[in-house]
Each structure stands twice: as C-alpha cells, then as structure tokens.
Symmetry: D2
Subunit: 254 residues, 4 copies
Amino acid sequence: MKPTTHLCTHNTESITVRGADLVDELIGELTFTEMTYFAITGRRATHAQTRILDAVLVTLMEHGLTPSAIAARMVYASTPESLQAGVSAGLLAVGSVFVGTMEGCAALIARILAATDGEAMARDIADEYRSARKPIPGFGHHMHKPDDPRTPKLFALAESQGVPGQHIAALRMLSAAVDERFGKHLTVNATGAIGALLGEIGIPAPVMRGVAVISRSAGLVAHIAEEQQTPSMRYMWELIEEAVPYEADSDTSG
Amino acid sequence: MKPTTHLCTHNTESITVRGADLVDELIGELTFTEMTYFAITGRRATHAQTRILDAVLVTLMEHGLTPSAIAARMVYASTPESLQAGVSAGLLAVGSVFVGTMEGCAALIARILAATDGEAMARDIADEYRSARKPIPGFGHHMHKPDDPRTPKLFALAESQGVPGQHIAALRMLSAAVDERFGKHLTVNATGAIGALLGEIGIPAPVMRGVAVISRSAGLVAHIAEEQQTPSMRYMWELIEEAVPYEADSDTSG
Amino acid sequence: MKPTTHLCTHNTESITVRGADLVDELIGELTFTEMTYFAITGRRATHAQTRILDAVLVTLMEHGLTPSAIAARMVYASTPESLQAGVSAGLLAVGSVFVGTMEGCAALIARILAATDGEAMARDIADEYRSARKPIPGFGHHMHKPDDPRTPKLFALAESQGVPGQHIAALRMLSAAVDERFGKHLTVNATGAIGALLGEIGIPAPVMRGVAVISRSAGLVAHIAEEQQTPSMRYMWELIEEAVPYEADSDTSG
Amino acid sequence: MKPTTHLCTHNTESITVRGADLVDELIGELTFTEMTYFAITGRRATHAQTRILDAVLVTLMEHGLTPSAIAARMVYASTPESLQAGVSAGLLAVGSVFVGTMEGCAALIARILAATDGEAMARDIADEYRSARKPIPGFGHHMHKPDDPRTPKLFALAESQGVPGQHIAALRMLSAAVDERFGKHLTVNATGAIGALLGEIGIPAPVMRGVAVISRSAGLVAHIAEEQQTPSMRYMWELIEEAVPYEADSDTSG
C-alpha cells in the first residue's frame, strides 16, 4: 500500500503542518512544547499536557559531563564547522543504558493497567524481577539515594494538573509492591516517573525515548556553546590518554 | 589552564543547573524554551526573548519529507531498537546547505551593525555578492516566491515584542540595498529572518545552528512516530532503486 | 579497577600498535585486512584467516541503493564539507534489520557446537523457530531465491582454506534440519554464512557486526564519490516528496 | 537529468558490482583493498596502487585514545546493542581538525603540478602561509618532532612501487621551499604524505577523507572490541567529572 504523510505540505505561498497554516496558526501562537506535541501526536495539547511535557523536557535536559556530553564535545572540537555532528554524536548515547528504562517502566505500567487486579499484577512483577535478580526498569539510582529528588516533584506537578492519573497510580502501586517484596526501599527514579507522566499525556511508549532525545539536544547545544567559549576537549583527551595506560599484549608473536 | 563547567553539578540529594536547583526552581517553573535559553546563555529569558525563541523553534520544526527526514526514516526502520540513531542521522543533514545561511546572514548583519554608515555597508555587501555572482546568505528561496511567507510573520512578532530591533533593521537595510543593486526583488528567506531574530535575543552566531538542530530534533521524532504507525521506508527504498537505474561503466576491464 | 589499553601507544619518535612498531613492522608489511585482524584480535592472521576475512569484507561492501546508501547520500549532499557525516549516517543503518542476523546465526551455531548431540540440537532449534513462527537468523532472503548465490562461494572458499570447519559444519547441520522440519528448502543467506565464517577465524560474535560496518564504510565512500560526480540527492528527494502525498489528519481541531 | 548508478545491480541469481559478477569475479579473488579501489574508482588497482593504498590504510587505523576513540567508547557503552552507533560517533570526529589537512595538502600539490615553474610556485605558497601566519596543511606535528616517523616510510614505499611520482616530487619541492622560507625545518606529517600518495594512485582530493574514514572504522571496531572485554567508559567518565569542576555563573539572577 502506498504510504502518505500527515505531517507537512507546502506550496509557493504557504506551509501546512498537520492541517494548520504554519504562518497564520502556529508561529507566534504555539510554544515549542505545544508545537512538538502537535507534530508528534496530531492533537493540540491541553494546558495540563503542555505543563507536564514542559516539566519532563526540563528534567532531562542537563546532567553535567555525562557520556553523551563528552562524546558531543569530542566530536564538536574535531569538526567545529559542523555543530550538528557534535549533537548527533551525543544523542547516539541516549540509548538503552540511560533512558531505555523509561520504556521498560512504561511497559510494566501497561501490564498493571491491563490487569483485572492491578495490585496482584504489581506483586507478580516485583516477584518476577526479584527471582530473576534483574534491575526493575524505573527503579533505583546509582547516585540519588535514598530517593531521586526529581520524582516527587514530577508526580506532584502531574497530579496538580488533574490528568487521568492512572499511570501514576499504577507506578505508585508497583513501588509499594517492590518495597514490600524486596524488603527494602527502592527509589522510583526520574526515568521511571517520566514513563508514567508521558503515559498520562498520551505519548506512546515507542516514542518516549524521542522526548528524551529532544530534551538532550538542547542540553548538548549548551555543552557545545560552553566548549566554544572555554575549550575543554584537549584537556579531557590528555587526561584520558594519561590515565589509561598502554599495556603490551602478553603475546603478539606473528 | 584547567577548564571548568558552568552547566550542572549534582550530589545525592540535588541537581543544580546554572546555579539554580533543578527540582525547586526549574521543573514545573520553566518551559522548555525558557530552560533552553537559560542552559545555553546562562541568563533567564525575558518574556520577549522567550516568545521570539518559541517562534523560531516553531518555524524550523517541520518541512515535510526533506533529506533530513528521509535519512531519519531510512536509519530508524533499519534499527528500530534505536530511535536515537534515526534522529541523529537526520540531524547530520542540518548542515551548510540548508541552515548554514543563518550564520552567513548573521555575519552580514554584524558587518552592517559594526559600520559607521550602515546603509553604505549594506550597498557594499550587495555589490560584493552581485559581482561575485554568489547567492547572498538569507536571500532567495527555491520554492517560496516571490516572498517567503514566514519572514513577515517573524519580523512582525519580533517587532511587537519591542526587542532592540537593530538586527532586524540592519537586515531590512540589506534587503533594500539588495533589491536596488540587483534591480529585482529577492525575498528575505526564513533562515535570514531567523539569523536576525536570534541576534536580537543574544544568541551568538556560532550557536545559531544549534537552535535549528533542537527544533529539527522534534520534527524528526514526529517523522519517526509516523514511520512507526505507517511504515514508508521500504516503499521509498524500492521507489529509488527503480528510479535510479544501474548503468555499467564504459570500461571495467581488469 | 583501573583499565588499560592494549591497542596503541606513541612517543615523539614512534607509534606502537599491539606491541609492533607501526613504521618498521606494519606499514608496507601488512595489508589492510591483516592489520584489521591484528588490531581487533591482537593476533597475526594466518594466510587462511586473511583470505576468509577478505572474502567476507568483499561480500558485504556493496548492494546498490540500500537504505544505508540513501541515508549517506541525503546527508552528504546536505553537508558536503563533511564526507564523514555521510558515511556515519549510512553506517547507522547497519543495524538489527540488515546485519543483526549474523550474530543471531552465530548464536545458533554456538548452541550446536556446545551440544553433546549437534544434530539433535539442530532439530530442536528448527522446531523452536517453526512453532514460534519466527524467521531463523541467517535463513531466507527476500530476493535471492531459491538460493543466495553468495553462500556456496563463501563456504567453498573457507573449506578450501582448511580452517577447523566446525562452524560451517554446524550451519550445514542446521540447514538440513531446517529443510526437514519446515518441509521445504530455506536458503542459508550471506549473513548466515558469514556468521559461520567469522566464527571459523575466531571473531567473537559481539564483534561480527563490526566487520560489516568496516566493509560498508568502503561501500558508502564509493556512493559518496559517485554522488560527487553525478549528484542524485535532489532527484531522489523530489521523487519521494511527489510519491508520498500529504494527507490531512481526519481531525485537528484545537 | 535522470541520474544513474554505476555501482551495483542485482537480481534473483546474481549481484553485479561495477560490471563484475560479485560471486564469480570478486569474492575470493580480490582483497578488501582491491575491492575498495575498484568500488570507488571503477578501475582495477595495479599491484603498486594496491600496495600504496594498503600502506595508507594501515597508517591511519590506530592512534590510541584519540577524541574519535573516546567518543566511540562513550556511545558504545551507552547503547551496547548498537555497535554501529559507537563507530558512527567516532567517525564523526574524522573531520577538519584531524584529517582535513590531507585535502589541504593535496590542493597545494595540485597548484605546484599545475604551475609552469613548480619551484617558484612552491616558494610562493611558503611565502603565502608565512605572511598569513597560518599553519601549512600537511606540515608540522604537535608530538612527532623533529620528524613524523611515518612520512619517510610512506615515501620510500611509494617510490619503490614506481608510481609516476609527481605528487611526491611536488611535496618534496614544497618541503624544501618551506624550510628555506621559514628558516627552520618543519616536518611533512603523515596526513601530508598521504595526500601525496593518494594523489599518486588517482584518488580525487574530495574522496581522500573517505580513505581515512574507512581505515578509522577498523580502528574503532578494535576499540569497541576492547571495550567489550575490559570496559573503560565509566572510569573515563568519572575521571572527567572529577577533573572538570562545576563553577557557578557569576550572576544567574532571574
């Protein structure tokens, strides 16, 4: 079947995005966040949806000299005529290890929402991960202990906006079951909370990682802007060369 | 000299971005656009600056099945477990050919602003490009004729916000000189207008391309979301394979 | 624990790779393929290993206007000052859909090699995929029917080199079991055969995709060289814009 | 005009690359280096051309924990299901700063070859760079002093192969003029020498960077293979986080 696109068309006089005239209805009328929601979902965001999406985008933008930021600075300083290459390299690190848990947590929430008895399902999930000795997506944080400070703020904001609330309720249910079954408190981390919030505003799970990508693109531009003003790449490079010494293979005889 | 970073620090309880506490002062308080301006420049955006940056970000987000969108869909459908790879591939096309004119136009504006006699400088620039028979960055558009519809809207919005206005005034000056010296009307295109608007809100020229990258990252996520729902990659691939035939080299003898 | 690197060190007078002096022992002494094997494994390749790796690299280099080549051309023509960006975009498409089957097939071979009764294991694997109605990695091809022409040549070449031969034997065993259990012939495709050949020469399964990436990088440079001489990007772009029409959302009311 | 491709076509039974049957004429017959030359140029490489291209590819493959390798490891360890993303990120650093000088040097060689009096042109070029106080592409090295050890080996190898020799002669001419006009010895570095060697074997200047990209793709796969066996990413990340401290902006008041 012949595919079509619902995103954009244009002619000599106008550009139309999702049925709306770009010049007359969107530029100057929508914020970036409203436009993003509109472009991705085809629906106009409500005030509540916009505030939640803004909160998520603000949360994920910047976390210091992470692997993503380091990669971006390494590439940018090697090819300063191509700012976009630095951002692209950094975004490639927005992968399974750092934000993949968002979708994993959303999948657990979906299982709870689909169950007749949500609490029983939450306990089953907790047992499943405990016996498999696997980390639960959206739970735990290597640095923020005992609790990820972003999570209660994100929950409070979403709840103040009166969204349906089911996804957050399901994640709270899972959190209670996890603490009970593991016999200790595991924090719901920011990516877990965000998996619930994006579910509340109707972002499909396979698109959620895209929200992190958008947010990080802004963070990476900030890193590159800083690299332009106070170059750090060569310092970091020499630091690593010195700290990771060469060691000969025990045997390289031909 | 040992470099430092002004962007972010964190400890077990908190995350600090540009001196502000992420949880207490930024999440739920700033929009994405305000946060982006803050992260990049270190300054809180005024209402006017935010509205202008929003308008720019909305303008650049989506322009249909461009090379950038095609590259993103090709890569995403080849590696659907890595949404970020699709976005990265698409952003690599946000380069000199499509948005490089933004910085080029900003450089011309800077020359006019630095001149004692701006109008004379505008005429000099017009003459310079006319005799070199080179395209003027920020002028002309292969499709939007006689005028790029986005430009007057962007100018009007910025002027309604009462920003200093010097960059826009300089670009209008250049536009008048260009029409006079070339003896015909050349439209100021959207990237030209945006070069002026971003100058008005204090975005340095070498960072401007980053604003396009941020905006396009959202557009590319929308393309990938559409590709998830109605796959088009194989259709486009077969279309191209069929339309670009193989032709043997005239001589490949060993 | 503090990591080290076994790959390379250098000082003002010399560069040492894997314990060998680059200038005295490697440049002019090793072919690219021998150097690649040495860099990746730390071992000097035998003549047989070199011939097999060459055959694999030659096989995967070029397959026409694939998604990978299209992405590379889209990006290159948008940023012709950055040839490397075109190659990078194209390599991002060397993912699970197109070469992921290589590792998947290597994993099946490993299961057969680890079994006490290889033939029984081969039948178990065939039954497993048949009842799950899932494609078997390394089997079948959407275009090359009934048989992928590359496979017998790759097998013949490897066998002529007298490598241990266990991986190929295991794959032949699996092929026989698949044909028997599915009641029809399924071709062993080139990525399946390559999974076996790379196993024969001691390339670990998690590195196999890297061999495809190396080979494709050369193919993509060939595509970019052709794009430089006879630009095709705008033609392909317009082709797609025309063939994939815009369709308004059924409802975009705000 | 409708573009065509000279690279590859295929049908159910066969694959044809540059007019040659992949299975019957290329797999098992050509080395990777011969196939690469054939794919890029459409010509079969002579023995001399193959040896020179092999020497260049071996030279550029590996130089330790460079920005390119660091970026590749940062990305790979963040998304280990996508080896190709690590390589792509690393290749993005093969840009103007590190290998761009290859093309720059080739352009100077071309000017000398096109001049009636090559020696006079070489002196003009030296004067031009000296008065502009700009680095001469292909000359000088931040670490290899007084001479880059790779250059004499590359020259000797190429000369032993009896290629036309004009590009090397022109570069030697430029080197003499540079030393005379600058009043001190500046080494011809490896990228300079390679610019000459690739010219000798008929690789067009705009494709030369592609040769570096191909070679580095193999080096980056070796880095990723090492990262798989002895992970270093978190160590490097923590090293950088600690070494580049956060410093508050002097004023971030809203």
